[in-house]
């Protein structure tokens, strides 16, 4: 493929690779540097906006997580961030720390390298999506439904005789995993930590789509727009939005399974259902004939001609019902992805836009059609789609999966000739799980749209010539994009 030539297979790294603080060939002057770390399947971006005069640049950390990296590796990564931010030593300052959504591949670093964050960094503002504000009861309700779903799924995986229907569920569960590779902290705790740091500095913000654009302290001519997570509960839910999902309280349910359906599944999986398992059995106990039952002899003859007939073994349904768990796992994953904080950075003078979508899926993308911003000096409100139109840098959603980049009302709107796309993705990890990342058709569309300026964080690939010409520089540890 033209965008990324394979380099000779390197030896697997067990620690974060050594790399200079600035990539060779970096321009001396730039308006922003976007640094994507090459740490496996996961997002970690450092945005550097130079300030006027001798003032230190504004540093913004956007997510810091990996799906499958140990604590030592992630500590190495965060140490590298520290050296970049504070080249002369001492405490580094992260003017803004933003987390897009509650998934391990975006947050694990805040747990794994907690020590470094505690001792070597001062935080400025902490930005989170409005869906993380647990002081609101309705949001707490969503989160507790999710916890229950995850618990149910874990119980289901522990059931005896688990079938192929559950293959993939355990992989999916990693995203909302209980433990990080190093310790016992949950992904939710990483968010709690960020909230704590934010309230310590007195600048913890829950961002809402369409709110007034945010100015960056000391950086002239840059406005930050918030596009998502959507306020519309239906769009918030949808990885596939159908008219049928239009019901008032859809937000409290998990996908199509529903709260009670979850209880029933939980009961089947052997999770304690408040001592109420009997309620989820379809019939009274007297009707049930198990293979151990004394009445089994009554049905044995019938079954030997039907269900137990070896010639008709292909019709048995022992594990088909378990696909409900697969659906639940998908619902859980996509619901969380859709709470992604979506940010657009606009350079006012030139109109250029950098777009970071987290792992936003279809519903989140669709909601932007109705988002607009009151901008000082503009008679009419600015529609969010106008920002997409002016996008020159796009952080591809959900590691390049097919439904995290909308076609119409998404990629098709991005028409800047110099468009560059970054995909934080480690091919080997995705392949090992047999995940369709990057999705073929989407990748092809991106290559076409960007004129081959698509860059993967995969350590085995180097940016192509077209990307280099557009200001992309790479080392073993990160890839930089410069807007000069």
């Amino acid at each position: 493929m033209a965008t990324a030539k394979k380099t000779a297979a390197k030896k697997a790294v067990d620690g974060f690779p050594a790399a200079p603080l600035a990539a060779p060939g970096s321009p001396a002057n730039y308006r922003v540097r976007v640094r994507m770390y090459r740490h496996g399947l996961g997002d970690c971006f450092l945005l550097t906006f130079p300030r006027k005069g001798k003032a230190a640049p504004l540093q913004m950390l956007l997510d810091c997580g990996a799906l499958a990296r140990d604590g030592a590796f992630m500590t190495g990564l965060v140490e590298h961030i520290h050296k970049t931010v504070a080249p002369k030593g001492g405490k580094g300052r992260l003017d803004v720390v933003a987390a897009t959504h509650e998934h391990k591949d975006h947050l694990s670093g805040f747990n794994q390298a907690r020590e470094v964050f505690n001792t070597k960094f001062d935080f400025g503002a902490v930005w989170l999506g409005w869906t993380e504000n647990l002081t609101k009861p309705e949001i707490e309700k969503i989160k507790s439904a999710r916890r229950k779903a995850a618990e149910t799924l874990r119980a289901a995986l522990a059931m005896p005789g688990v079938g192929p229907e559950l293959a993939g569920v355990s992989d999916l569960l990693q995203f909302s995993g209980e433990e990080d590779t190093t310790g016992s902290r949950t992904v939710a705790e990483a968010l709690e930590y960020l909230k704590l740091r934010g309230s310590e500095t007195g600048d913890l913000r829950y961002l809402e789509p369409g709110q007034e654009p945010i100015a960056l302290d000391g950086v002239d001519g840059v406005r930050v727009y918030v596009l998502g997570p959507p306020k519309d509960p239906i769009l918030l839910k949808g990885s596939e939005v159908t008219g049928k999902m239009k019901r008032e309280d859809v937000i409290y349910h998990l996908g199509a399974t529903g709260a009670v359906g979850m209880d029933a599944l939980a009961a089947a999986a052997g999770v304690e259902a408040n001592g109420d398992e009997e309620r989820f059995s379809p019939f009274a106990a007297e009707h049930r004939i198990t293979r151990q039952s004394p009445y089994f002899a009554n049905v044995e003859q019938f079954l030997s001609q039907t269900y137990d007939d070896p010639g008709q073994g292909w019709r048995q349904i022992e594990t088909d019902w378990m696909q409900a768990f697969g659906q639940l796992a998908l619902d859980l994953d996509s619901d969380t992805n859709n709470t992604s904080l979506v940010l657009a950075f606009e350079f006012v003078k030139t109109g250029e836009v950098l777009l970071f979508v987290g792992d936003a899926q279809v519903g989140n993308w669709q909601s932007w059609a109705d988002v607009q911003f009151a901008v000082p000096g503009r008679a009419k409100p600015l529609p969010a789609h106008d920002l997409l139109n002016r996008t020159v840098f796009y952080k591809v959603g959900h590691h390049g999966s097919h439904n995290a980049t909308l076609k119409a009302g998404g990629l098709e709107l991005m028409n800047q000739p110099g468009l560059v796309a970054f995909i934080p993705l480690d091919r080997a990890t995705a392949q090992a799980q047999r995940w369709d990342m990057p999705a073929g058709p989407l990748f092809d569309a991106l290559v076409k749209k960007t004129g081959e300026r698509v860059v993967l964080s995969d350590a085995g690939e180097t940016p192509g010539e077209e990307a280099k010409a557009a200001g992309v520089r790479a080392t073993a540890a990160y890839v930089d994009y410069f807007l000069v």
Partner: protein
């Protein structure tokens, strides 16, 4: 000493034609409302199966009640037990698994009976493909569709071709009190007439056209859903008590909200959707909290890609045609009952009028459903579009009813037009241009040459005799075997006669003659291109003019490998030949040829586009081989 084993035939009662079984009219919800309690239960009159075993296990179905999530079986019901026979089956009860088995059997048998009566021949399930090690895949006869009434713990039910089964789920109703359902109460999809009829129809349609599960354009899967819904809907009109009740309630105006036009009310409500799962004439508006009628919008089809939503447009079109027909048929009754004004006086309708209106509605619904089922014979075997289905409907009806006395065809054309459903390549929307074309003459041949050659061909392979052999067989397995013989004989005949193969090749656009196949079609070592005679179906139907139609439908299929922008694609082409065995003529060739470049590009573009809109499951879980499982999760 007299021999007591001797049967005294004169005193034996004749076998009954029908078995009467009690069941829910729609689903258990009607029984709990005062307004509808009286009509909540009906008698299903299913064909009498002499050899019905416990299960029930008969000629077409076997109900196996295994509940894997609860790890138990429920004892099979014996419908021939005297106590059961004496009271028309078990009393409807949600808490009795044996009644559930009776209910699925009753509705599934009703559905298949409807199907067989419309087609005038036996119905078959899809063959099972068995591949023994190192051998070519062989198809195997599947006598019974297996039904699992309690297979899943979820709000889902689906037909699984891979297991030759229909799996029904059960789930607790939403705890949302405003749904009006008993919160957390158990809801069984196997107690919903609509769900059972819908899934049985999926299985029947799959047995009829097995490639209608391949989404080569946005209509194919949507048609599968729509057709299953249509059968379920029109079966409502065969419940006389409910029909009369609803006609009385709506004062004869079936365009207003009514139970007959709604599908799966309980399943929909229990999932918290505030209305039936699907409604052919309206919907529940979440914003206003009211039921609103659909207004047909010709642009809607273009904007709708989701399978159920797209299917709903076809259902709405067919239902709309039905409503027009019903109105047309009942207009005189309304005038008679209103002193010639056509405007009914206020208050309840006279019971006699209700009865007569109900008769007209039942008659019209029966006709429309027959048309819809018979049209299947006239569909191309692959890549069906809604527009082509309209052509199939019109053609099938024109063959039987030369005069369109009650304007059925006009009603269909109008209803389809109002929803923007058009065939791709007709010049006008008149009956005549919608009717499939007769096979054309060759440009360079003598007049009548094509027709003559075809007649000779049909005669030379003894097609009449072959089909006659089919007619006097009684069991399905015998018919299946004989049909397979005919298919093989046809295949050999086409291959063996070069001139005939060339002629058929010209008509169907497939590659049939040796040494002439394009490079992307697989060719055997002896030079014969690979194709299959997929199906041979016969139909004898009585036309309105008293003439018996004596037809044979043959489908030919062929695959080709196409490369497009570096990707390999397998494209299926095929033709349905409609033969008139009386006149030895090929009446129609309905097909999708190999050389239709536009279609092939359209298919590839569609399939590539589909990759971009599939659900998240596609990223993580790859393909699970149960197309309806995922499809029905959001739409049942």
């Amino acid at each position: 000493m007299a021999d007591s084993s001797l049967v005294h035939l004169a005193s034996q009662p004749p076998a009954p034609a029908r078995r009467l079984l009690r069941g829910f009219a729609f689903d258990p919800t009607l029984a709990t409302k005062l307004e509808t309690a009286l009509v909540s239960e009906i008698l299903y009159k299913v064909p009498w199966e002499a050899n019905l075993e416990a299960g029930p296990r008969g000629e077409y179905f076997e109900v196996v009640d295994y509940d894997p999530a609860s790890q138990c079986f429920y004892a099979p019901v014996d419908l021939n037990a005297p106590h059961v026979l004496a009271q028309n089956g078990l009393r409807p009860s949600e808490g009795n698994p044996q009644f559930h088995q009776q209910m699925v059997y009753a509705v599934a048998m009703t559905t298949i009976d409807r199907f067989e009566r419309a087609l005038g021949r036996k119905a078959f399930w899809t063959d099972r493909l068995v591949t023994a090690a190192g051998k070519r895949a062989e198809s195997e006869f599947v006598q019974r569709l297996r039904i699992y009434p309690h297979a899943l713990r979820m709000a889902n039910a689906y037909y699984s071709r891979a297991k030759g089964s229909v799996l029904f789920g059960y789930f607790p109703a939403t705890e949302d009190l405003s749904s009006g359902q008993f919160p957390g109460g158990m809801v069984f999809t196997c107690l919903s007439h609509d769900v059972i009829a819908h899934e049985t129809t999926h299985a029947l349609l799959d047995g009829f056209h097995e490639h209608f599960l391949e989404a080569t354009n946005p209509d194919v899967l949507a048609f599968h859903e729509a057709f299953a819904d249509m059968v379920a809907l029109f079966q409502h009109f065969t419940f006389p008590e409910v029909l009369r009740h609803q006609i009385a309630r709506t004062r004869g105006d079936l365009r207003s909200e009514n139970l007959l036009a709604q599908l799966a009310a309980q399943v929909g409500l229990a999932r918290g959707t505030h209305g039936a799962l699907r409604d052919a004439i309206g919907r529940f508006d979440a914003e206003t909290g009211r039921w609103v009628r659909h207004t047909p919008d010709p642009t809607e089809l273009d904007r709708t890609t989701q399978v159920h939503a797209r299917g709903a447009i076809l259902v709405a079109a067919v239902f709309d045609a039905f409503l027009s027909i019903y109105q047309d048929r009942s207009r005189d009754l309304l005038r008679l009952a209103s002193n010639g004004t056509g405007v009914l006086a206020q208050g309840d309708l006279h019971p006699d009028l209700v009865n007569r209106l109900a008769q007209e509605a039942a008659k019209a619904a029966g006709h429309v459903l027959n048309m819809c089922i018979r049209a299947l014979d006239y569909c191309p075997p692959v890549d069906l579009t809604f527009g082509e289905y309209l052509r199939a409907l019109i053609t099938a009806d024109m063959d039987l009813m030369q005069e369109d006395e009650h304007h059925y065809r006009v009603a269909f054309i109008e209803a389809f037009r109002r929803r923007g459903i058009y065939p791709r390549d007709v010049r006008t929307l008149s009956e005549d241009s919608l009717r499939w074309a007769r096979p054309g003459e060759a440009q360079d041949g003598a007049p009548g040459e094509t027709e003559q050659m075809l007649a000779m061909f049909i005669e030379s392979i003894g097609l009449r005799e072959q089909v006659d052999g089919l007619r006097y067989l009684t069991t399905r397995v015998e018919i299946w075997r004989k049909t397979r013989e005919i298919r093989a004989a046809l295949h050999t005949a086409i291959q063996g006669q070069v001139a005939k193969a060339e002629l058929l090749q010209r008509l169907t656009g497939l590659a049939l003659a040796e040494f002439q196949a394009p490079p992307n079609v697989r060719v055997r070592r002896d030079g014969h291109p690979v194709f299959t005679v997929q199906a041979v179906r016969e139909a004898r139907r009585l036309g309105e003019d008293g003439r018996m139609l004596n037809q044979l439908f043959i489908t030919l299929l062929q695959k080709e490998q196409v490369e497009h922008e570096g990707n390999e694609h397998v494209i299926r082409s095929g033709s349905t030949l409609v033969l008139d065995l009386d006149t030895l003529r090929v009446s129609y060739v309905i097909g999708k040829g190999l050389n239709d470049q536009k279609r092939i590009l359209r298919t590839i573009a569609y399939q590539e586009g589909e990759n971009g809109t599939r659900s998240l499951a596609a990223t993580y879980l790859a393909d699970r081989g149960e197309p309806f499982a995922a499809l029905h999760h959001t739409g049942a």
